[in-house]
């Protein structure tokens, strides 16, 4: 397993958001974290990235191992440098930087020294971004911003990507494009943990899924085997 979370608890001040999350992600697989709004999917992602900062009255407990290294207590930049690229909910594109600058700013060789993902390969993967390379981040459409957010993650040549609600607010046609993009990434050997509310999307792009409810994993199954009953029970669909 490349990522293993054991009994992870997360707190925002006095609010106990994660109640002992345990999950694992295998090398080269795509795993999905499903759940309704506010169950702790994004908090799980932020916890993995070390973003629950004690200075902001946040706290994390439990064990999080990535590639055998304990993440708990590490700072965000050190976690990213282990080979985890985080694509946050809301995209967080730098608005005053051009598309190309948004990519260049993230460019880094992977932990193994590989530079497989660079401007050229990213533009081949996302030709639309090359067409918009001089446009400022805040001038891009929602779909373009999402592509850029994923491409920016790839520029770090990561071992693993955390994709947080990447389909949020996008038209169905764009969601379909994103699904094939994630499938292609998995085919390229990138390990992916994806937080989603969109079950159809999750079923297309992931092999395994965990369902979160009130900050705890309540169900774990191969995504394709998710029954209508399970979906109705946990996701209200």
């Amino acid at each position: 397993m490349i990522l293993e979370l054991k009994e992870v608890h997360g707190y925002y001040d006095k609010s106990h958001i994660l109640n002992g999350v345990t999950l694992s992600v295998g090398q080269g697989t795509s795993v999905c974290l499903l759940g309704r709004n506010g169950v702790g999917k994004s908090t799980t992602m932020k916890t993995i990235m070390g973003m629950l900062n004690p200075k902001e009255h946040c706290k994390t407990e439990g064990s999080m191992k990535f590639d055998g290294k304990e993440l708990a207590g590490m700072k965000s930049h050190s976690i990213a440098r282990l080979g985890i690229a985080y694509v946050p909910q809301g995209r967080h594109i730098f608005p005053t930087l051009s598309t190309e600058e948004n990519l260049k700013v993230a460019a880094r060789a992977g932990v193994d020294g590989s530079c497989k993902w660079n401007l050229e390969t990213v533009y081949t993967f996302f030709p639309r971004l090359e067409e918009r390379k001089d446009s400022k981040g805040d001038k891009l459409s929602g779909g373009e911003k999402q592509m850029l957010a994923v491409a920016r993650g790839l520029m770090q040549n990561p071992k693993m990507m955390l994709l947080d609600e990447i389909t949020e607010g996008l038209a169905p046609i764009i969601v379909d494009q994103l699904a094939s993009m994630v499938q292609n990434l998995v085919a390229e050997g990138v390990t992916i943990l994806i937080a989603e509310q969109n079950v159809k999307f999750a079923m297309k792009v992931s092999s395994d899924c965990y369902i979160l409810e009130r900050g705890a994993i309540v169900h774990h199954q191969a995504t394709k085997e998710l029954t209508a009953e399970t979906r109705k029970k946990y996701l209200g669909l």
Partner: protein, 288 residues
């Protein structure tokens, strides 16, 4: 006003503006990148001037142009480390702390150099005047413009063409995301602070042969250049140069035409500009 006097006043205004730019560019960089108003900038500027008095006497003025900014930046490194625990807290704490640092620096200058106002004599090649299309200009003014111009260009290149500059612009809008890209934001703050302070130190070196300075001016000089910061835009690094030139010219021509109002002109200009656009008249509406 004769044509030659007009051009001499123009060059004097530009050179004053360019030296003020060196101080304010660093302030703007630190505000933009670190969300920190460094009230101690004036003290670092004066420290640059006083270090030049001592170092230029030993190794000459031109090498001081390189060595003194590096020394001042090195001192800035420790000041940044000392102020770091207050980062992310109320900006008022940082303002008071940096003002306190300015007081301490000024007293340290007094400890080493005393209260007496000094003036560095110009190296021979920078003395005297040079004739350009029949008009005589002081060589040192031209030298100040060239050195400050090169620094301004290098600063522009750094902000707009290097990864550090991109990260500086990125951090203005989204500091956590920059950290998520694997960038050690604290280390980056140290580098930005040192660059900002080092540029002020360079301004201090250029000032050494022109104006005799009291060590305590480190406290008041920041107030003198504050109008430049507000006119250019607090978080607009590109606005510093035109604002500094504008204030330099207003000062130079104001001294000729409105000598009785000379002191109030930059502040009045700042108030007018802030009514026009509080974010600075050189700030583009759509972004940075």
């Amino acid at each position: 006003m004769t044509v030659s006097f007009f051009f001499q006043t123009l060059i004097s205004g530009i050179s004053n503006g360019m030296v003020s730019y060196l101080m304010i560019a660093g302030v703007s960089l630190i505000i933009s990148g670190m969300s920190m108003v460094n009230f101690g900038q004036g003290a670092f500027y004066v420290l640059g001037t006083y270090l030049t008095y001592t170092i230029a006497a030993k190794i000459g003025f031109v090498p001081s142009l390189i060595l003194v900014p590096i020394l001042v930046a090195g001192i800035g490194y420790f000041v940044e480390k000392a102020t770091r625990p207050l980062f992310g807290k109320d900006m008022l704490y940082i303002m008071l702390l940096t003002y306190g640092v300015a007081y301490m620096l000024c007293d340290i200058i007094v400890m080493f150099w005393g209260y007496s106002i000094r003036l560095l004599s110009l190296p021979a090649f920078l003395n005297g005047g040079v004739k350009i299309v029949g008009i005589k200009f002081p060589v040192y003014y031209i030298f100040e413009i060239v050195i400050s111009g090169i620094t301004a260009f290098a600063f522009w290149l750094m902000i707009n063409k290097t990864k550090l500059g991109m990260l500086t612009r990125a951090i203005i809008s989204d500091r956590p995301m920059v950290a998520n890209l694997g960038v050690n934001v604290n280390q980056m703050f140290s580098v930005l602070f040192m660059i900002g302070i080092g540029i002020a130190g360079l301004g201090g070196v250029l000032n050494a042969p022109v104006t005799g300075m009291s060590p305590k001016e480190g406290l008041s000089i920041f107030g003198n250049v504050m109008p430049i910061l507000c006119i250019g835009g607090l978080r607009n690094m590109d606005g510093c140069l035109p604002a500094a030139l504008l204030v330099g010219l207003v000062n130079a021509f104001g001294a000729v035409y409105l000598p009785q109002y000379y002191n109030v002109l930059p502040a009045a200009l700042m108030v007018i500009c802030m009514f026009i656009n509080p974010k600075g008249i050189f700030t583009r509406r759509e972004g940075r």
